[in-house]
Amino acid sequence: MKELSLNILDVVENSISAGASLIKIIITADSANDRLSISIEDDGSGISEDILWQIEDPFYTTRTTREVGLGIPLFKMAAINAGGNFRIESQIGKGTSVRAEFALTHIDRMPLGNITDTLHSLIVTNPDMDFYFRYQIDGEGFALDTRDFRKILQGIPLNSAQVSLYIKEYLTENKSEVDKKFKFNV
């Protein structure tokens, strides 16, 4: 994967397959501690313990439990190669959380890339699911919560044209306002 936003998209696809109704994606950069953390949390069906320990192994794959494949090993590798760490936790019936940490300035850290396109396409192609997204650099940030949007929209779907355009602009404008306060790129 060329950018971390693609890893995020891939992991979220697992959450969707697991029947999640709410997915939280939180990206936090902390330059003082040289840390970038990405966490993805869902309330899907969860993964049983006997599968969970094998999931980080790239050679473990099964077509019957489709949440398993190369996606998690690739994300883990991206973190480990960039002086970070990786953790996946899950509980049957409760959900799964994936957390990857990176050394922010590590030469081998993949750029975050186009997180706006990742989020926008996820929301619009899954209009009945809720997404919470938070993007934060050194304490400055913004959030998007489709539950708030839904309250305002009163039944108008999140994938209708004007709403889709609004969501894209919301992500683009708010992210660039945060980014322009900093000299480095996440």
Binding site: R66, L70, T118, S121, S160, V163, Y166, N174
Partner: protein, 124 residues
């Protein structure tokens, strides 16, 4: 900061135009493969292109959804277009530019682009 008041304005405008809804079965369906194989091969710009084109053209009778791995990873990114009452067309090795072409020719004008489509014999 983009405000939620703007979203309220969109809602008010849209509530005035209700009745333009289409039944699901009357809609043209675009499906993009978004498993690890698809994403690694470049499916996100393809998906984004369709999502943006539908929004920009204010289309209410076209939906775009995602699917998992369909087992022909070497042909990813893969896109399926189904116009109601017509045969499904599977496009392979897509990118954002080809997606725009498929949108203009097939989705909007109803003319499939044979050169990007998977051989129908293999489709069976």
């Amino acid at each position: 900061m983009k405000s939620l008041a703007e979203l309220q304005a969109i809602r008010d405008k849209m509530q005035a135009n209700l009745g333009l809804r289409h039944d699901e079965e009357d809609k043209t369906r675009i499906v993009v493969g978004m498993a690890t194989c698809g994403i690694a091969a470049g499916a996100r710009p393809v998906l984004s292109a369709f999502v943006d084109l539908i929004a920009q053209n204010n289309l209410t009778d076209v939906t775009v959804t995602q699917t998992g791995c369909i087992g022909i990873c070497q042909y990813e990114p893969i896109v399926e277009v189904t116009i109601p009452g017509e045969e499904k067309v599977t496009y392979i090795n897509m990118d954002a530019d080809k997606a725009r072409e498929v949108f203009e020719q097939h989705v909007e004008r109803g003319v499939p682009i044979a050169k990007y489509a998977l051989n129908t014999v293999m489709d069976k």
